[in-house]
C-alpha cells in the first residue's frame, strides 16, 4: 500500500502529508488501489472466518445431536429399568434372571451415559446432577423393595410404587427439559448454514463490485482497456468465491438432509422407545394395582399413542423401513396389550399376568418392539452422525483456499495499481 508518511512531526504536518498523498489523480489512484487491495484481503479473511465458523457450527450441531441421543438414552434406560423392576414384581416370587439383568442393564447404562453426557456438555451438568441423585435414590428404593420382597413382606410393593413415582417426578422432567434445549440448539446451529451462505454472497458482491469500480475508474483515467494483474485478481476472487458458495450450499444441503432424514428419525425412534417402555411399566403397574389401576391404564393409553405418533411421519416427509418395522412391532404389542386388559376385565387376572410376563404374548410382543426399535435407533443415530460429519468435511479446506486466494489476489491488485501509477508519472 502506498501509505502516507506517518513519522512523528506535529499532527497538522502529518495531515498535510496525508492530504498530499491522496491529492490529484495519482492520489485518487493510490486511494482506489488501497481499496482494491483491502477488498481482496477482506474477501480472503472474511470468507475464511465464515467458512470456519460454519464448520464449527455444523460441528456443534453434530455434538448437540449426539448429546440429544445421550440424554434420550438416559431416559430410555431409566424407563427400561423401571419397566423391568415392575414386571419382576408382577411375576411374583424370585424374579427371573433376564428381568433382573434388564433392570441392572438399565441402571448401568443410565449411570454411564449420565457421566458421558455431563462431561460432553458442561451446560447440562447441573440438570444431570439432579437426575443422578434421583437415580441413586431410585436404585436404593428398588433394592429395599427387593429385600422386602425376598422376605415375603408385602411392603416391598409400596417401595416399588414409591420408586416408580420418583422416576416420574424427579428424573424424567429435567431430562425432558434438556431434550428440548438440545433440540433447539441443534436447530439453531443448523440455521448457521443458511446465514453463512447469505453472508458469503453479500461479501462476494461487495468485493467484486469494488474491484470492478477500480478498473472502470482506471480505464476512464488511463484509456488502457485492461490491467492484467487486476483482471487476474478479480477472476481469482470470483472463482474462489463461487467455489466457496458452491461448497457452502452443498454443506447446507447435506446438513439439512441429515436433519430432515436420519436425525428426525433418531428423535422419533428415541421418543417411541421412551414412550414404549413407559407403556410397558404402566401395563405392569395396572396389573399390580389389581383392578384399581385405571390411572395406570390411562397412562398406558396416552404414552402408547405418543409412541405411535412419534413413528408416524408428520407432513410431507416419509420415514424409511426401519421406522415402519418399529411401528408395526409397536402395533402388535398394543394389540396384545388390549387382550391383556380384556382378560383382566373379564376376571382372568392370572391369564392377564401370564400374557404380560415371561414368554406370554404381550411380553414377547414388547420384546419384538424393543429389539426392532433398538436396531433402528442405532442405525439412524449412526447415519445422522456420519451425515453431519460428511456435511462439514470440505469446509475447512475451502476456507483456507479462499484465504490464500484472497491474499494472492490482494498482491496482484497491488501490482496492477502500482503499474498504472508508474505509467502516470
Amino acid at each position: 500500500m502506498q501509505a502516507a508518511p506517518t513519522s512523528s512531526p506535529p499532527e497538522s504536518r502529518a495531515r498535510e502529508l496525508l492530504a498530499d498523498a491522496f491529492a490529484g489523480t495519482p492520489g485518487r489512484m493510490r486511494l482506489l488501489g488501497a481499496l482494491a487491495v483491502a477488498a481482496c484481503v477482506a474477501f480472503g479473511g472474511l470468507a475464511f472466518l465464515l467458512g470456519t465458523n460454519l464448520d464449527r457450527a455444523l460441528g456443534a450441531s453434530r455434538a448437540h445431536a449426539a448429546q440429544l441421543v445421550r440424554i434420550q438414552t438416559i431416559r430410555t434406560s431409566l424407563v427400561k429399568a423401571d419397566a423391568n423392576a415392575t414386571n419382576a414384581f408382577l411375576v411374583g416370587g424370585l424374579e427371573p434372571t433376564d428381568v433382573r439383568t434388564g433392570y441392572a442393564d438399565g441402571i448401568q447404562t443410565a449411570a454411564a451415559t449420565l457421566a458421558d453426557a455431563s462431561s460432553a456438555d458442561a451446560n447440562d451438568a447441573h440438570a444431570l446432577q439432579a437426575v443422578n441423585e434421583a437415580l441413586a435414590s431410585y436404585a436404593g428404593m428398588v433394592e429395599a423393595a427387593r429385600a422386602n420382597n425376598r422376605q415375603g413382606f408385602p411392603i416391598g410393593a409400596a417401595y416399588l410404587r414409591a420408586a416408580s413415582r420418583l422416576i416420574q417426578s424427579d428424573a424424567l422432567p429435567p431430562l425432558e427439559q434438556l431434550v428440548n434445549e438440545e433440540r433447539s440448539r441443534v436447530d439453531s446451529s443448523s440455521n448457521a448454514a443458511t446465514d453463512a451462505q447469505r453472508e458469503l454472497v453479500a461479501l462476494l458482491v461487495l468485493v467484486v463490485a469494488s474491484l470492478v469500480v477500480t478498473q472502470v475508474w482506471l480505464f476512464a483515467k488511463t484509456r488502457r482497456v485492461l490491467n492484467p494483474p487486476l483482471v487476474a485478481a478479480t477472476a481469482m476472487v470470483v472463482v474462489a468465491g463461487l467455489a466457496g458458495l458452491g461448497v457452502v450450499a452443498w454443506s447446507r444441503g447435506k446438513a439439512s438432509d441429515a436433519r430432515r432424514g436420519p436425525y428426525t428419525e433418531t428423535v422419533a425412534l428415541a421418543t417411541a422407545r421412551i414412550d414404549g417402555f413407559d407403556a410397558k411399566s404402566a401395563e405392569s403397574l395396572t396389573l399390580i394395582a389389581h383392578g384399581s389401576g385405571q390411572a395406570y391404564e390411562d397412562r398406558f393409553k396416552s404414552v402408547s399413542l405418543g409412541a405411535t405418533r412419534a413413528l408416524t411421519p408428520a407432513g410431507v416427509g416419509q420415514f424409511g423401513k426401519p421406522e415402519a418395522d418399529a411401528r408395526e412391532a409397536l402395533a402388535v404389542y398394543v394389540n396384545a396389550h388390549t387382550r391383556v386388559r380384556a382378560a383382566d376385565d373379564r376376571g382372568d387376572y392370572d391369564g392377564a399376568v401370564r400374557s404380560a410376563t415371561g414368554t406370554g404374548e404381550a411380553n414377547r410382543a414388547f420384546g419384538g418392539f424393543e429389539t426392532t426399535s433398538r436396531q433402528a435407533l442405532a442405525l439412524r443415530s449412526a447415519q445422522a452422525s456420519d451425515d453431519l460429519a460428511h456435511a462439514r468435511s470440505p469446509l475447512l479446506a475451502i476456507s483456507w483456499l479462499m484465504l490464500v486466494i484472497g491474499l494472492v489476489a490482494a498482491f496482484a491488485a497491488r501490482r496492477g495499481v502500482a503499474q498504472r501509477l508508474r505509467e502516470y508519472r
Binding site: G92, N148, A158
Partner: protein, 312 residues
C-alpha cells in the same frame, strides 16, 4: 346344607353396645323401611346390621331378582380388597396371590354362592376408593379392614361386625412415646380416606401426613420422613411383623369395628352375608382364621357377637 340361623336376640341386642352411639329405637326386623336420610348422621347403633331372614339358599341358583343371583349369573364375586395389609389382605410376594383374613372372608362368601371359593375377582382399592367403588357398582363387596360407623352407613351398608380393632400408633423401638398424646409436634402418617386420619383431628398438635396407601406410610417411616404411623392395631401388627425396629404403643384411641361393606341397594345381600358370618362364627372357622393370621400379634380370642335390629 347350611343351617339357617336366625338370631333370637336379633332385635334388641344393640342395647349392650359399648359404642358411643345408642340406638334410638331398635326396630323389629319385620318393620317397614326407614328413609335413608333419618339414619345419618345418627344411625342408631352403628354395628347393628340387617338380620338374616329365612333359610339361606344353598349354593347354586339364588332367589330370582336377588343380587346373589346377579352375581351367580356373572360367574364370579367382585371384591374390593387391600393388597398391602399384611395379615388381612395382602399380595403374597412369593406366590403372587392375595391372602389374609379379609380374603378368606370373601372366599367364604363366594363359596356360599358358587360352592367354590375361587370364584372371586379382586379389585385392590385404596381406603378412599372403597365407598365410591361400592356406590358405583364397581365391586359387590368390600373386605378391607373397614370400620363401621354412622357417616358410612349414610352411604353404604355393612354386614355384622367381624372384628374389633382399635386405632394405635407405631413408633421406632427406641421411642419413649406411650401413645399418640406423647407425639405432639411430631410427624404422624395416616392413610387418606381412613377413619384413622379423621380421628387425628382430635390431636391438633400432631403433624399429620396423609398418603394414599397406609403401606406408603411405612416407606416414609423406614426412611425417616415421618416419626410415627397411626392405623388400626391389626394393620400396624402387620407392619411390625415386617420391621423389627418398629413397635405399636398406647391404648387404642378408638374402637374400630370391622364390617364387610355392601352397596345400599342390596339389603338382601347384606342379610345373605350376615347368615354366612353366623356360620363362620358358630362352626369354628373364625377361630381357625384367627389362629392362622392373627393369633401371635393381635389379641382378640373371640369373634365379636353379631348385632342386628337395623330396619331394612
Amino acid at each position: 346344607m347350611f343351617t339357617v340361623l336366625i338370631a333370637a336376640a336379633t332385635a334388641l341386642s344393640a342395647c349392650d353396645s359399648g359404642s358411643s352411639f345408642k340406638p334410638k329405637a331398635a326396630a323389629p326386623v319385620t318393620s317397614t323401611t326407614t328413609p335413608a336420610a333419618t339414619r345419618a348422621p345418627n344411625c342408631g347403633d352403628p354395628v347393628a346390621s340387617f338380620a338374616p331372614s329365612g333359610p339361606r339358599p344353598a349354593p347354586g341358583p339364588m332367589p330370582p331378582g336377588s343380587f346373589m343371583e346377579t352375581i351367580r349369573k356373572r360367574g364370579r364375586l367382585i371384591a374390593g380388597v387391600s393388597a398391602d395389609t399384611l395379615l388381612f389382605g395382602f399380595r403374597n410376594p412369593v406366590s403372587g396371590n392375595l391372602e389374609g383374613f379379609d380374603i378368606d372372608m370373601v372366599r367364604e362368601v363366594a363359596r356360599a354362592i358358587f360352592n367354590d371359593p375361587d370364584k372371586v375377582e379382586y379389585r385392590v382399592l385404596t381406603y378412599a376408593q372403597r365407598i365410591p367403588a361400592l356406590r358405583s357398582g364397581a365391586v359387590d363387596i368390600v373386605a378391607d379392614v373397614m370400620t363401621i360407623n354412622c357417616a358410612r352407613w349414610a352411604q353404604i351398608s355393612f354386614s355384622s361386625q367381624y372384628f374389633d380393632a382399635g386405632q394405635k400408633v407405631l413408633v421406632r423401638t427406641d421411642s419413649r412415646a406411650r401413645g399418640i398424646a406423647d407425639l405432639n409436634g411430631k410427624r404422624m402418617c395416616a392413610a387418606k380416606g381412613s377413619t384413622n386420619i379423621d380421628n387425628l383431628k382430635n390431636y391438633p398438635k400432631v403433624i399429620t401426613v396423609g398418603v394414599d396407601d397406609i403401606s406408603d406410610c411405612m416407606v416414609l417411616f423406614q426412611q425417616g420422613a415421618v416419626d410415627s404411623v397411626t392405623g388400626d392395631d391389626t394393620v400396624l401388627a402387620g407392619f411390625v411383623a415386617q420391621d423389627p425396629y418398629a413397635k405399636v404403643v398406647g391404648p387404642p384411641i378408638t374402637s374400630e369395628p370391622y364390617g364387610l361393606g355392601i352397596a345400599k341397594t342390596h339389603p338382601e345381600f347384606v342379610q345373605f352375608v350376615n347368615s354366612v358370618l353366623e356360620d363362620v362364627r358358630a362352626n369354628g372357622t373364625w377361630r381357625q382364621w384367627y389362629v392362622k393370621w392373627l393369633k401371635p400379634t393381635v389379641p382378640a380370642p373371640e369373634p365379636p357377637p353379631a348385632k342386628y335390629g337395623r330396619a331394612l
